[in-house]
């Protein structure tokens, strides 16, 4: 019911433009892995290659150790959920869900429109398909809608139908291409939890494409961050957040965005940073929670001015600017920081220890990046 996936040196070009460059990724059986990145980074293309909907220009795809490059999508034992849901508008919900089974278990003659039902010897198959459809519908709680057409359903219900159509065949691998991006924010949170629960229940391998880092972080065992046709880092969500290997990853993961300051500016603001920063110029990066607005032990004080404050209810975000022009964001509990007008002086404190450091090309330099799980197999 579950399978490992191995992508080896996948590349894809459309004419002159290269969408994917030499992408390799090992996905473990039963893993929930997200491909996340800004639009145009090649994540959807990679998923389509994995599905067999688009041929790769180079490299191999194997599922459970067997190469599948020669197989059509239906031969790879995978199911896919599309961003647009791609439900057949002329079929009822029940017929939509039944389609993958109908195509595989009924003979060509029995599938003919109108006259197909008259073909002999299909009642057993049809009964079996009916049971499978009912079971899949129950799993996503749409049993009551089996006779309706997709046009009569809400976005969230259509999403469930698309999920049921994917589940009904019990494939080893599920591919999801931004399945939640057409839903409103509330429903997205609910469906997020439901898809994660579905993954636990089915135990199959899930490959989930999204541009939303929150979705990727909350649902996945591992997240592969893609930029410009490459996987920059593939690691567990906490690993990505705490220990990004590349400045682009550090910036992409986490809201508000990580703050970056050149080491020179940091030392100019407080000489105390000189001993803990490298002699060569570097870019230091600070997550909002490491920026403190009150004196703390083992912290270094920096003068700053207040730019603006964002109230989020349970917490507030304080946007600050250092004398040298660098911007920092602090996260604070609401009510603990007096709200002051913009432009006012407001000092901040940063921990007296080596922060995350990146070189000019964006590569991490303060410590050797941890051995990546992506290549462990």
């Amino acid at each position: 019911m579950t399978a490992a996936i191995e992508l080896r040196n996948i590349s894809k070009s459309f004419g002159e433009t290269q969408t994917l460059r030499d992408v390799s990724l090992s996905i473990r059986p039963g893993e929930f892995i997200s491909l996340v990145g800004p639009s145009g980074c090649g994540k959807s293309t990679l998923l389509r290659i994995l599905a067999g909907l688009a041929p790769q220009s180079g490299g191999t795809v194997s599922i459970d150790g067997a190469g599948v490059d020669h197989l059509p999508p239906s031969g790879r034992d995978i199911a896919m959920v599309f961003q647009s849901y791609a439900l057949y508008p002329h079929m009822t919900v029940g017929q939509n869900i039944a389609t993958p089974l109908r195509m595989r278990q009924l003979s060509a003659a029995a599938r003919l429109p109108l006259v197909g039902r008259l073909w002999p010897g299909q009642s057993v198959s049809r009964a079996r398909i009916g049971q499978a459809v009912a079971q899949a519908a129950r799993l996503v709680e749409i049993e009551a809608m089996l006779d309706r057409k997709p046009a009569a359903l809400s976005g969230g219900q259509r999403q469930r139908v698309a999920l049921a159509r994917a589940i009904v065949r019990r494939p080893r691998v599920f591919l999801m291409d931004e399945p939640l991006s057409n839903l409103d924010a509330r429903l997205r949170v609910t469906m997020r939890a439901e898809i994660a629960a579905l993954h636990r229940r089915l135990g199959a391998t899930f490959v989930y494409v999204t541009h939303d880092q929150v979705e990727a972080m909350t649902m996945s065992d591992r997240v592969a961050v893609m930029m410009d046709g490459e996987i920059v880092q593939c690691a567990a969500p906490t690993q990505l957040y705490d220990n990004p290997r590349d400045l682009r990853v550090a910036r992409f993961i986490g809201t508000p965005e990580i703050a970056t300051i050149s080491s020179d500016e940091l030392i100019a603001a407080n000489q105390g940073f000189a001993p803990i920063l490298p002699r060569d110029p570097a870019i230091a990066a600070f997550r909002p929670e490491s920026v403190s607005l009150a004196p703390a032990p083992e912290h270094l004080q920096l003068p700053a001015t207040l730019e603006r404050v964002e109230q989020l209810g349970h917490e507030i975000l304080v946007f600050l600017r250092l004398a040298g022009g660098a911007r920092l964001t602090a996260r604070a509990v609401a009510g603990q920081v007096p709200i002051s007008p913009a432009g006012q002086r407001l000092d901040l404190w940063l921990p007296r220890r080596t922060p995350m450091l990146f070189d000019a090309s964006g590569a991490r330099m303060d410590k050797a990046p941890q051995h990546e799980l992506a290549h462990a197999g």
């Binding site: 239906s74 599309f82 647009s84 057949y88 046009a151």
Partner: protein, 307 residues
């Protein structure tokens, strides 16, 4: 949503700038359009219906009321009944053939990697051509002795075929001309319909195991072209019913009445035999048939969701 909104729409609709017009001005503004509609469409139809109850002859000063006489005569008129039958037979050939050929061409061209525009243009040309002129060309092509079609048959050692001289073939020959000129139009309709089928559905179909082109065509393309097909069938049927010019140019109803169709018979009755009264009755019958199709067409176009 619009349905919900219309429930609460105010009864007196204010104008674009928010002012409510007094009825006097509103009717005044609508008057020119109403007058034009009455003068050019409604009045002629009413006059024609009135004439159908008289024995009016073209050019005569007087006329006599005959009641349903003209209609009763039509019931016994062998020429009219033959024309009616021929017209239905003609429509039964042209409508399905032109729709199927249009669908076939559209699907074929849609699958091309290059040259789509060229082929669409080529197959659309007959639609833009003058049918009368093209009918003359067809008459020459299929001519019993000098036509290239027959010369080709002869060179292959086959017996020659005088399409428009043969009672059993003439109507089918005319139908072929109309199919040729209508298929391009239907092709454009279907091409537009095909662009409305989302690519995602074909991707989903590939995942769901529709591996053969035929499976995808029967399960995705054809059902989604349903509304287009219905529209193409109705418009083709109406066009085929109105056949006149090819008959007038190529066969003049012959040989021996085998290509007499409704409009041509009506035309002869009114403008060759000058019996306007009975010609008007025939036109009313024709109009009634067209009304049925127009009603179907309006129903089809009204329905926004077709699947």
């Amino acid at each position: 949503m619009p349905a919900d909104l219309s429930l609460h729409a105010p009864k007196a609709q204010p104008g674009r700038l928010g002012a409510v017009l007094p009825p006097r001005i509103a009717y005044g503004l609508a008057a020119p359009a109403v007058l034009l509609l009455v003068a050019t469409v409604i009045a002629p139809i009413l006059v024609m219906i009135a004439l159908s109850f008289t024995d009016y002859r073209f050019g005569e000063a007087g006329l006599r009321w005959t009641g349903l006489g003209n209609y009763l005569q039509l019931l016994d008129d062998r020429t009219f009944k033959r024309a009616l039958w021929n017209t239905f037979a003609y429509v039964a050939m042209v409508a399905p053939a032109s729709v199927l050929l249009g669908l076939f061409l559209a699907v074929l061209i849609d699958a091309l990697d290059r040259g789509q525009r060229f082929y669409r243009l080529v197959f659309f040309l007959p639609v833009t051509a003058t049918l009368v002129a093209m009918a003359m060309v067809w008459k020459y092509l299929l001519h019993g002795t000098i036509g290239p079609f027959n010369l080709m048959l002869q060179s292959l050692g086959l017996p020659s075929l005088d399409v428009f001289g043969d009672r059993d073939l003439a109507l089918a020959g005319l139908a072929a001309i109309n199919v040729w000129s209508l298929a391009g139009f239907n092709m454009v309709l279907f091409s537009a319909g095909l662009t409305g089928v989302p690519q995602d559905l074909y991707d989903a179909a590939a995942m769901d195991g529709m591996d053969s082109r035929l499976d995808r065509f029967l399960n995705v393309t054809l059902p989604l072209l349903g509304p287009t097909t219905l529209f193409a069938v109705v418009t083709s049927t109406i066009t085929a019913f109105k056949v006149f010019d090819t008959v007038a140019v190529v066969t003049r109803g012959g040989p021996r009445g085998s290509t007499d169709v409704l409009l041509y018979t009506t035309y002869l009755e009114g403008f060759s035999y000058f019996r306007m009264g009975s010609a008007a009755a025939m036109t009313v019958v024709f109009l009634a048939i067209m009304m049925v199709f127009a009603w179907i067409q309006a129903r089809v176009l009204d329905r926004k969701v077709h699947y």
